[in-house]
């Protein structure tokens, strides 16, 4: 995980969930910038199904914290118009799986506004959306789709693995003049009813700070292999690294944080030292984040001690029954096994 401890050395630790961190960031930015507003389904009175807007309605009122109809095409399209008019909308797409009903506004309007206007009109909007499965919600509420969005020019795509990064990334995303797809993983969100990976609940400074978009972080140093993850899979990689250390294998873990822009150089720098690369990704395998990262390393002509590998969700819809779903989802044991296999075949 990242190291927020140094940033708050003077204060007693204050542990936040990612949900709380997101809501805190949006609220602080709404205080600072009157052009920021939030829109989405159930984000006002309910505070967001995944807690991303808790408390904002009471503080800022219904003009700036707007419950929308279940009408993503209209309100995400409206966000593009708000952004073109100089506002800074934060809109929530409740589940990333719902992108099918509103993709035109995202990839044909938001993503191309700067380009098609020759830079005259920007699109400073944040689209925050939940990703990921593992809780039996089946294939229309459990996808990751990082690569789907990462593939489209003109969009920035980020996903935090912990509360510290979530807050700093959200502040950076709102201030960015471009459309930012801010993904949050349901298994890290800290909602009581959903379970959470405890390592995602971290300290986060109360004040203003940004985690830069487009930068990966090394969250555990190692010498034998580079394991790259994002969101939930960072934690699976860290768990695996702990298991591997007991067997004398030293794994370095990179938290990608950003799918687009992709911090290729951070990964290359690590693999130059370790000579081995494994990517762990809960999005679909083919044409995915893993393929892109491995290509980035291969193109750089870095001497490798074993063929790069990837663990991802297979090219099937997400099944409902936990027996099947957990069989196909990545997990720490799969990471550990893959690393051991790579060490065996290495030169």
């Amino acid at each position: 995980m990242s190291s927020p401890d140094t940033a708050t050395a003077v204060r007693p630790a204050r542990r936040l969930t990612i949900a709380r961190a997101i809501a805190e960031a949006i609220g602080q930015e709404m205080e600072r910038d009157p052009d920021v507003l939030v829109m989405g389904e159930d984000i006002a009175k309910l505070g967001g199904v995944f807690g991303t807007t808790t408390g904002l309605l009471d503080r800022f009122g219904p003009e700036r914290v707007r419950d929308t109809p279940i009408s993503e095409t209209a309100f995400i399209g409206a966000a593009v118009g708000l952004a073109a008019s100089g506002m800074r909308p934060v809109v929530e797409l409740m589940f990333v799986d719902f992108f099918g009903v509103c993709m035109d506004a995202i990839y044909n309007l938001a993503a191309k506004q700067s380009y098609f206007s020759g830079g005259q009109v920007t699109c400073p909007m944040v689209l925050m959306t939940s990703v990921g499965g593992g809780y039996g919600d089946a294939g229309q509420h459990s996808q990751a789709l990082y690569a789907t969005f990462g593939h489209l020019p003109g969009l920035k795509v980020v996903i935090p693995s912990n509360a510290h990064d979530a807050k700093g990334l959200m502040l950076a995303a709102i201030r960015d003049p471009n459309p930012v797809i801010f993904m949050y993983h349901k298994a890290l969100q800290g909602m009581g009813w959903l379970g959470t990976v405890q390592r995602s609940i971290t300290d986060a400074p109360e004040g203003d700070y940004v985690v830069p978009l487009g930068k990966a972080k090394c969250v555990r140093e190692g010498e034998d292999i580079t394991v790259v993850g994002l969101g939930l899979s960072v934690h699976q990689a860290l768990d695996a690294a702990g298991q591997l250390a007991e067997g004398g294998i030293s794994a370095e873990v990179i938290d990608l944080i950003s799918v687009a822009p992709l911090d290729r150089e951070a990964v290359r720098a690590s693999v130059r030292r370790t000579g081995r690369l494994l990517v762990v990704d809960d999005d679909y395998l083919s044409y995915g984040v893993g393929a892109e990262i491995i290509a980035s390393v291969c193109e750089a002509d870095i001497p490798l001690r074993a063929p790069p590998q990837r663990i991802a969700f297979p090219d099937i819809p997400v099944p409902f029954t936990p027996v099947m779903e957990h069989f196909v989802l990545p997990n720490a044991d799969k990471v550990t096994a893959a690393v051991r296999q790579m060490m065996r075949v290495s030169n």
Partner: protein
């Protein structure tokens, strides 16, 4: 302005319709340069699809006569008449269509993606796409407490898109100053409205979203001016959105090169016989306008277009490396 046509607005509408028609008239021969004897859309100084607006000018001028630079307009894949009426820079617009560096977007957008931030104009290539952004622009002006409005133009085919219905609902729920203007030219490419639209009058659909709906018959700039003026004034007063359905016609094909085999025999001839621009000139003369004044203002309009095309043709192409700029702000 209440919407009653006054002399200066009527003269402006006449001149602007002439300007738009002349713009398209200069596009036509330029489009076929390099595309004959064998038609290849990729060839010549104007590659790609080209959707001309001949016949639809009354919709643009009747609405835009009431608009200010601070008002937002989103238009369609058939945008030239609306862009010209909204006051988009004519030189930069022509240069954009020719793909030149001095075009509105430096050649990145072309004819279907014209942006002029100076007058808050944008258009896009997918039907009903501009409606959501217009709701957003209208919400921005409402939140800021100014009296700017946003107008989304669409074709009658777009009224069957989900985005149309979602945007009207949202605009009404939030009571934003948006005006939705349907240019009903009777065809979505080759399919006639009667074959694909469940209602006779799209204006009736306004009732589903608790907003006023107006049908304007006759492709008549004065009639559009009156109704649009009322809808826009209503929006500026903070009383919410309106839907306008304007009967118009497409004198050309869906795009240049369209063989128009779907048209009934004699339809184009009939439409051209009722061309709204000569008809408007005749009415202005009957109402006491001087022919010399109309001729002078028409000549000035044509000269501006001639100058814009000369500018565009003489302009330099962008450095190909410029393709990599402005992807992000």
């Amino acid at each position: 302005m209440t919407g009653a046509s006054n002399a200066s607005d009527r003269l402006w509408m006449y001149a602007t319709m002439i300007k738009s028609r002349h713009f398209e008239a200069l596009i036509k021969p330029a489009y076929f340069e390099g595309k004959s004897p064998v038609f290849n859309m990729a060839k010549g100084p104007l590659p790609g699809e080209m959707h001309l607006s001949d016949g639809q000018e009354p919709c643009a001028v009747g609405v835009c006569a009431h608009l200010r630079p601070g008002d937002t307009v989103t238009a369609t894949h058939r945008p030239h008449h609306v862009a010209i009426a909204k006051g988009v820079d004519l030189d930069a617009m022509a240069a954009e269509i020719f793909g030149k560096a001095s075009g509105l977007s430096g050649g990145r957008g072309g004819h279907m993606h014209l942006f002029d931030a100076r007058v808050n104009f944008a258009c896009s290539g997918i039907i009903a796409q501009g409606l959501g952004p217009a709701v957003g622009a209208a919400l921005a002006s409402k939140l800021r407490g100014d009296d700017a409005v946003a107008v989304a133009f669409l074709g009658e085919g777009a009224a069957n898109q989900g985005a149309f219905h979602e945007a009207l609902n949202l605009a009404s729920v939030w009571k934003v100053p948006a005006i939705f203007v349907i240019e009903d030219n009777a065809y979505g490419i080759s399919v006639s409205k009667r074959d694909c639209t469940a209602v006779e009058r799209n204006a009736d659909r306004a009732a589903a979203y608790a907003m006023p709906g107006h049908f304007v018959a006759g492709n008549d700039a004065d009639a559009v001016h009156t109704i649009a003026g009322e809808a826009i004034a209503r929006a500026r007063r903070g009383e919410g959105p309106s839907l306008l359905e304007i009967e118009t016609c497409r004198l050309e094909g869906h795009f240049m090169g369209d063989a128009e085999g779907y048209r009934p025999e004699g339809e184009v001839e009939r439409l051209k016989a009722s061309d709204p621009i000569p008809a408007y000139r005749a009415r202005l003369l009957a109402d006491g306008f001087e022919a010399a004044d109309l001729d002078r203002t028409a000549a000035e309009a044509r000269a501006a277009v001639d100058a814009a095309f000369a500018f565009a043709r003489a302009a330099a192409y962008p450095d190909p490396e410029e393709a990599f700029t402005h992807v992000f702000a």
